[in-house]
């Protein structure tokens, strides 16, 4: 998947969960400080990403979901692992 497509899709997921416009979810905007995300919303973001891409992201990774950029990186990591398994 193209990096920009993945970023756009995840931006949309985040915007939907936190009820903001996608344009507000800047790549480096901090979820907790800048966007008003709480731990339950972060979990919903993680769950929505898992569902959309059919991947399993360990709960420990929640702490790494602090910006759009970091979230895309985590999703990319597990998407790569999944694709690696399929080969």
């Amino acid at each position: 998947m193209q990096p920009e497509v993945l970023e756009k899709e995840i931006r949309d997921i985040i915007a939907q969960v936190i009820e903001k416009e996608p344009e507000e979810v800047l790549p480096e905007a901090r979820f907790y400080e800048d966007l008003g995300v709480d731990s339950m919303m972060a979990l919903e973001i993680l769950a929505a990403i898992e569902k959309k891409y059919k991947i399993a992201i360990p709960e420990e990774k929640l702490a790494e979901l602090r910006t759009l950029k970091e979230t895309v990186a985590v999703a990319r990591q597990y998407l790569n692992e999944k694709e690696g398994q399929n080969v």
Binding site: M40, L43, L46, A47, E50, E59
Partner: protein, 252 residues
């Protein structure tokens, strides 16, 4: 319209399921069509016998050796149950121990072991199931408290503190996760006929029976029936509650 329990086909974890109240809960839930993974610490033979008994009657149960005081082992256990059973819908925190003594005779280990198994054990299992429940936006937790935690019982400061802690935990968590369609309730049994009561002197037993308005010591099935109710659809609008099941002993 009369509703069914809605429990058939669900999967549950019951801690401390080989004996006493836990054993009755395992049997009761299996009879309702729930697949049950239950834990035990020392009573492997009784756990095995229960598992075979349930399997022989067409139910689904699996026994696992787990000390609920161990957080990481509890995590491994929850993951294994989810893998083996495919899903998880229910957690019943039942594992408990007593070390009854007057406070003036109570040692540090007497205090810690009771807090660790009863209260920390409840945290360890609940913490390890809750993320899954939040993600699936469903799940039910029932904690087995005690009238000791509601009313306080002499010679049980450790147990009363742990069980009162479980009641606070139940109420706080109920508020925290209600928006995710997760209910958290507790049952507070009074004097129930289990190994925990077997050391009681006959005079003391007679004294208890005299004081219980319903005139008897409770049966484990009296408690498991309340657990079934709290897990059923009939209790859909009940969360954060403590149902006292004690024959009327501690009517407030």
């Amino acid at each position: 319209m009369i509703q069914e329990s809605g429990l058939k086909g669900k999967t549950a974890i019951v801690s401390g399921g080989s004996r006493g109240i836990g054993r009755a809960i395992v049997k009761h839930l299996c009879a309702c069509g729930v697949a049950v993974a239950f834990t035990y610490v020392k009573n492997g033979d009784q756990a095995q016998e229960l598992m075979e008994q349930i399997q022989a009657s067409g139910g689904r149960a699996a026994a696992f050796q787990l000390d609920v005081r161990d957080f990481l082992k509890a995590r491994e256990f929850v993951e294994k149950v989810k893998n083996d059973f495919g899903r998880l819908d229910i957690l019943v925190n039942n594992a408990g121990i007593t070390r009854d003594k007057a406070l003036m005779m109570m040692t540090g280990p007497d205090w810690l072991e009771v807090i660790d198994t009863n209260l920390n054990g409840t945290f360890n299992l609940t913490r390890n199931v809750i993320v899954g429940f939040l993600k699936q936006k469903s799940g039910d937790v029932v904690n087995i408290a005690s009238v000791s935690g509601v009313a306080g019982l002499a010679r049980q400061t450790n147990y009363s503190a742990a069980k009162a802690g479980i009641i606070g935990f139940t109420k706080a968590l109920a508020k925290e996760v209600a928006a995710y369609n997760i209910r958290v309730n507790a049952v507070a049994p009074g004097f129930i006929e289990t190994d925990m009561l077997s050391g009681l002197r006959q005079e003391y037993r007679d004294e208890i029976i005299k004081r219980v308005p319903l005139g008897r010591i409770g049966r484990p099935e009296d408690v498991s029936g309340v657990v079934e109710f709290l897990l059923s659809q009939q209790a859909n609008f009940i969360t954060g509650q403590v149902i006292v099941c004690d024959g009327g002993l501690f009517i407030q």
